[in-house]
């Protein structure tokens, strides 16, 4: 199609492009705003409420408000009415932001709002140790930023008992790495067979058709496959053979890191094989000829010329695999992801990596926090933060792969120049 300046096609193309960019920007901004908002210290407001027996005061941050009422997050401790209090606008006698109001965050992640002017002993009575206390109303923007960064750091560096998501973050990273370690060698081998030895007849045609179909299988189907084939059949057999003394308690016979990684490897294999095969096919014929003419055997051509030249394609395959694996949560729920894992899949105990252990995952945390959390307001806020973290993690993994690819590319940049000369 030839697109001319000022034509309808140009207009259409450019407008759809701008819509695309706008939507992307909107999603990113929304994720950043909602994901980071929980860490920003909000004003602590004190309401005086007219109630039947007299007046009461409520201290906390505003979670939500509409035309009739305000919902105040008044913290966990010392609260008989529950954490969130709905205050009808009509019953509010006064509202203020006292300078001596502070929020104390306990080591278990709980919040307590109080005023320094009052009896400070209440803090100790709650039987929690405050790990940080901030007088939010007094803070300037810079100080608030410091508090927010500290809160965020706490969120990513502590376990669930302290309100953080570190185990989920570690679980996700380990899972993706293990998946890559499994899928890359298999993918490379399959791609080599397809592009170098299989030609385009008989078996190779079937393998290609199978790969294309596999790429279109819904991810949850892989979950069922992993559960039936890997966890129950293979895991059960492994238990019978090597862990019989622990039966009936399953070792590998229940969902765990290894099976989840293998399931994801299966899921990402088609895209890995196809992109590596394309990469190998994209290596100019004359490089192959050049190596052959110097006396290289077929496998020497492959290992010394083709694979190094296809290096960027290997990294592209890895990037695609990571992106697809990080986005697949549904199958993981069947093969080993749990809401709360008693221990990390990696620790200081031999053999350091524990592939049979159940693990936590950021993607699952998003779902779990948003829908299955006991605290809807807090849960949704945390779901946003988990989603943002997941995106950051994928972004970080991908950009390191892209950086590596760019270094490889710079070695071969003029390859393309020659090809078009």
């Amino acid at each position: 199609m030839k697109v001319e300046r000022g034509s309808t096609a140009t207009w259409f193309a450019s407008s759809s492009l701008s819509v695309l960019l706008l939507v992307t920007a909107a999603v990113l901004l929304l994720l950043l705003r909602n994901g980071l908002a929980p860490f920003w210290p909000a004003d602590i407001v004190e309401f005086e409420v007219r109630s039947a027996p007299g007046a009461t005061t409520v201290l906390g941050t505003i979670t939500d408000e509409d035309a009739q009422a305000i919902i105040v997050d008044s913290g966990d401790a010392l609260n008989t009415n529950g954490r969130y209090q709905r205050i009808a606008l009509a019953s509010i006698a006064s509202r203020s932001t006292p300078a001596d109001a502070y929020v104390a965050i306990g080591s278990d992640g709980s919040l307590r709002y109080d005023r320094a002017g009052r009896d400070g002993a209440a803090l100790d009575a709650a039987d929690i140790t405050a790990v940080s206390t901030s007088y939010s109303n007094r803070l300037g923007a810079g100080e608030k930023l410091v508090v927010a960064v500290r809160q965020f750091a706490r969120f990513v560096s502590t376990g669930p008992s302290a309100g953080g998501v570190l185990p989920a973050l570690i679980g996700t990273v380990i899972l993706v790495l293990l998946m890559s370690v499994v899928v890359m060698p298999i993918g490379i081998a399959a791609a080599i067979w397809l592009s170098e030895y299989a030609g385009n007849r008989g078996r190779a045609r079937w393998v290609r058709a199978a790969l294309t179909s596999l790429a279109g299988v819904p991810t949850i189907v892989y979950g069922v496959l992993g559960l039936g084939l890997l966890v129950h059949a293979l895991g059960g057999a492994v238990d019978q053979l090597w862990f019989a003394q622990r039966l009936p308690a399953p070792t590998f016979g229940s969902g765990g890191l290894l099976w989840a990684a293998l399931t994801l490897a299966l899921l990402t294999l088609p895209v890995v094989v196809v992109s590596i095969e394309n990469g190998l096919a994209g290596v100019p014929r004359r490089l192959r000829d050049g190596a052959m003419a110097l006396g290289a055997t077929r496998s020497e051509v492959l290992w010394k010329v083709l694979l190094p030249a296809a290096g960027p394609a290997l990294l592209t395959a890895l990037i695609l695999a990571i992106a697809r694996a990080a986005g697949a949560v549904a199958p993981l729920m069947l093969v080993g992801v749990v809401k709360l894992a008693p221990s990390l899949p990696i620790d200081g105990e031999f053999p350091y990596l524990h592939p049979s252990r159940q693990f936590m995952h950021l993607g699952f945390s998003v779902y779990d926090q948003a829908l299955a959390s006991g605290d809807a307001f807090d849960g949704v806020a945390r779901a946003w933060s988990c989603a943002l973290l997941l995106l950051l993690m994928v972004g970080l993994l991908n950009s390191s792969a892209i950086l590596l690819r760019r270094r490889l590319d710079s070695r071969q940049r003029s390859l393309e120049l020659v090809a078009t000369a």
Partner: protein
């Protein structure tokens, strides 16, 4: 046969094809070609597109072997030894018969690694000895002065003309007896072409060179002998001086004078 091959003493023949025919699938690309390539000389193979020049050239180092549907009849000998025989394994053949291609094809690695590639493959030389051979190969193509101090730089950064001289150095490094060149200057600018032709001239004497070209002037400039191929058949083979001044075949004359359609 309508060839007027110059009489050669058998010891002066580097490469020889006898009654060579080649098919790719059902298509015959070479038809009963018998030609003797004289040792230490430059032999040009000319002819119109599709006349089988490149296919003939690639028979000499068995580079056609991997092509699907390839079938060959006849015999090719290097120094009297059958290139398909058990006495000459294919990697040994390709060490003795090097090749330079149409487009410069340096590998995506450093300049030094490119030149050492063949040496490493064939397990020739170690450490400093290999470095010495890399240096002398680069010197013989005039690249040492230009890139001798940046052997670690990527080969892809070189200009096209330098790249073509680099792959020539890569081929020379394993000390072949014969060098096949498949339109080696077709991707080069006129100045680089001239430079390359001078190199070819300089190499002749030590190395037998078979040069496929569609550039008649180039064939006349650099070659001692010339073969004219047409439709897969060898029409004429003679000393270049004779062939270009007094072609004995009508077909050759038509091609040389541009009457070929």
């Amino acid at each position: 046969m309508t060839t007027t091959a110059p009489l050669l003493d058998p010891s002066d023949i580097a490469l020889q094809s006898s009654a060579l025919s080649l098919w790719f699938g059902a298509r015959q690309v070479i038809d009963n070609v018998s030609v003797s390539i004289p040792k230490g000389r430059v032999t040009a193979i000319i002819g119109p597109s599709g006349s089988g020049k490149s296919s003939l050239l690639r028979c000499f180092n068995r580079l056609n072997d991997d092509i699907d549907g390839h079938r060959m009849q006849g015999k090719i000998t290097l120094d009297g030894i059958d290139v398909h025989g058990p006495d000459l394994p294919v990697h040994e053949l390709r060490r003795r018969v090097g090749m330079v291609f149409q487009r410069p094809n340096p590998f995506p690695m450093s300049i030094g690694d490119n030149v050492a590639f063949g040496l490493r493959l064939l397990g020739i030389g170690k450490g400093s000895e290999r470095d010495g051979r890399v240096e002398s190969a680069l010197k013989s193509v005039g690249l040492w002065a230009e890139v001798g101090d940046q052997l670690d730089a990527p080969a892809m950064r070189l200009s096209l003309g330098q790249q073509q001289r680099l792959v020539l150095a890569r081929a020379i490094a394993v000390e072949p007896e014969v060098l096949l060149m498949d339109e080696p200057s077709s991707a080069l600018d006129p100045l680089s072409t001239l430079r390359f032709e001078e190199l070819v001239h300089g190499l002749a004497g030590q190395i037998t060179i078979v040069l496929v070209t569609h550039n008649i002037q180039q064939a006349a400039r650099v070659s001692d002998y010339t073969a004219y191929l047409h439709g897969g058949r060898l029409v004429e083979f003679d000393r270049s001086d004779d062939l270009f001044s007094q072609p004995s075949e009508r077909q050759t004359e038509d091609y040389l004078t541009g009457r070929y359609a």
